[in-house]
Amino acid sequence: MSSFTFYKLNTAEQLDLFYTHEEKLNLEEVRSAMSKKVATLNANGKITGEGFINPTYETRNGVRVLEAFGTDLVNLGNYFDTTFHNGDVTTTETQYTFYSKTRVIITEDSDLILKFDNSTEEKAKGKVKALIESLGFETTLFRLDDSLLRKVQNEEAFEWSAAKIDRIDKEGDKTTKVSYEIDLANDVNPSQVDDAYREHGKMSHIKFQIPYVATGAPNKITVSLYNNGHRAFFEEDELDGSQVHDFVVFLMTRLKSL
């Protein structure tokens, strides 16, 4: 499943350069800065260096955006290469590295979305963020913290269906952590676990339904938010042909409005 992380961009170094007179981010300037940091490729198209690939302009959920791939070297871990020579076994510790891609979406409202298609790609998060910062930005993480997750749980337009609460310190109760899921279709009974723990601890995960309108997609999409890594998840297949990037820009805008 793909994961998404959201950031706010500030133009720390080149204050005026990146803004149009409507106070919007000048995507053309960003694109031309990217063109000075193009990822190198070999003859077969294999990525051989860090940088940006294929920046394009799009309109997502009514917002102008610049989309590109960022590439960087990822270390997948170490392995022990073994040789047998003249009766001796020799092992050499070797690093396995490769160039990984990350989907980068920069909006005219100075938002940055990084999309990782799997957990291996996520290893490049820090490096790709640094690559974007090298264009002249400062990034601020959009935190999916306790207070935001609780706003999601309390938002009337959403329907939450699962939560995890950590660091519980409740008088007369030695429970320290609960993870629970409820039946969305049951409008008769309460969740006794939620009643008991809702006001306690730190929420670290929430799963909810967000109303959405797009051709092909169901009218409610399941979204999971995790405090760990400040990541958002959803099933791309559930969008059933409607554009994933439209949905993610919509989701981010909606979460920021809480």
């Binding site: 039946d183 969305l184 279709a185 049951n186 409008d187 008769v188 799963k207 339904q209 009218n219 409610k220």
Partner: protein
């Protein structure tokens, strides 16, 4: 509203419920028919009244106070349909209504579990988005999916035991459980009439 799915062996006998005149001056009974009518052409709606009481007692003095209270249980069925829906409040009330139904009508009605074949009929008819699918595989492992395509559902149904599915249909969530419990997050009469009729026709 939460329902239990019921199997009716002699559906033609169920209508005889209406022959029991509703007695507004009834003596104290444990269970009685409170309401009976036909809605939307062919759906029958019966409401049972279950008399119960809260009992307050002390350890030394025993029973001190009784507070009367009653609970209403909704029952939906179609003429000649092998299945019916009874509102699920708790097991005790369910058993009581079933006994009363069998005593009064000889329709031979009982609670049934939902097997994979019934799950398939439910899901094909509902034709919504599967928002949750819980099943047990051949190695007896519990598996939870947050989303499943129609093809994935058919693949799972073929060789695993479905425990529960939650489906989004238009704007409503519907959960169907292996133990015969069906929940829908809308308790408005108009919707319940539409919903029960549609499901009963689909699985008959």
């Amino acid at each position: 509203m939460n329902f239990s799915l019921l199997k009716v062996e002699n559906p033609s006998k169920l209508k005889s419920l209406s022959r029991n005149k509703i007695n507004f001056f009834k003596k104290k009974e444990e269970i009685s028919l409170f309401h009976f009518n036909k809605i939307d052409n062919d759906l029958y709606h019966a409401v049972f009244n279950i008399s119960d009481e809260y009992q307050v007692s002390t350890k030394k003095l025993g029973n001190q106070y009784n507070y009367m209270y009653s609970s209403l249980v909704n029952f939906f069925f179609l003429d000649q349909n092998k299945y019916a829906f009874l509102e699920y409040i708790n097991n005790e009330y369910l058993e009581e209504v079933l006994m009363e139904l069998n005593r009064k009508t000889r329709a031979s009605i009982s609670k049934i579990a939902i097997n994979n074949d019934l799950f398939k009929l439910f899901n094909i008819d509902l034709n919504g988005t599967i928002k949750k699918m819980k099943y047990t595989n051949e190695d007896d492992e519990f598996i939870d999916l947050d989303f499943a395509t129609k093809d994935k559902f058919l693949e799972v149904v073929a060789s695993n035991t479905i425990e529960e599915i939650t489906v989004l249909v238009e704007n409503q969530f519907i959960t169907i459980n292996k133990n015969g419990r069906v929940s829908v997050d809308n308790s408005e009469e108009e919707f319940l009439v539409y919903f029960t009729k549609r499901i009963l026709n689909a699985i008959n």
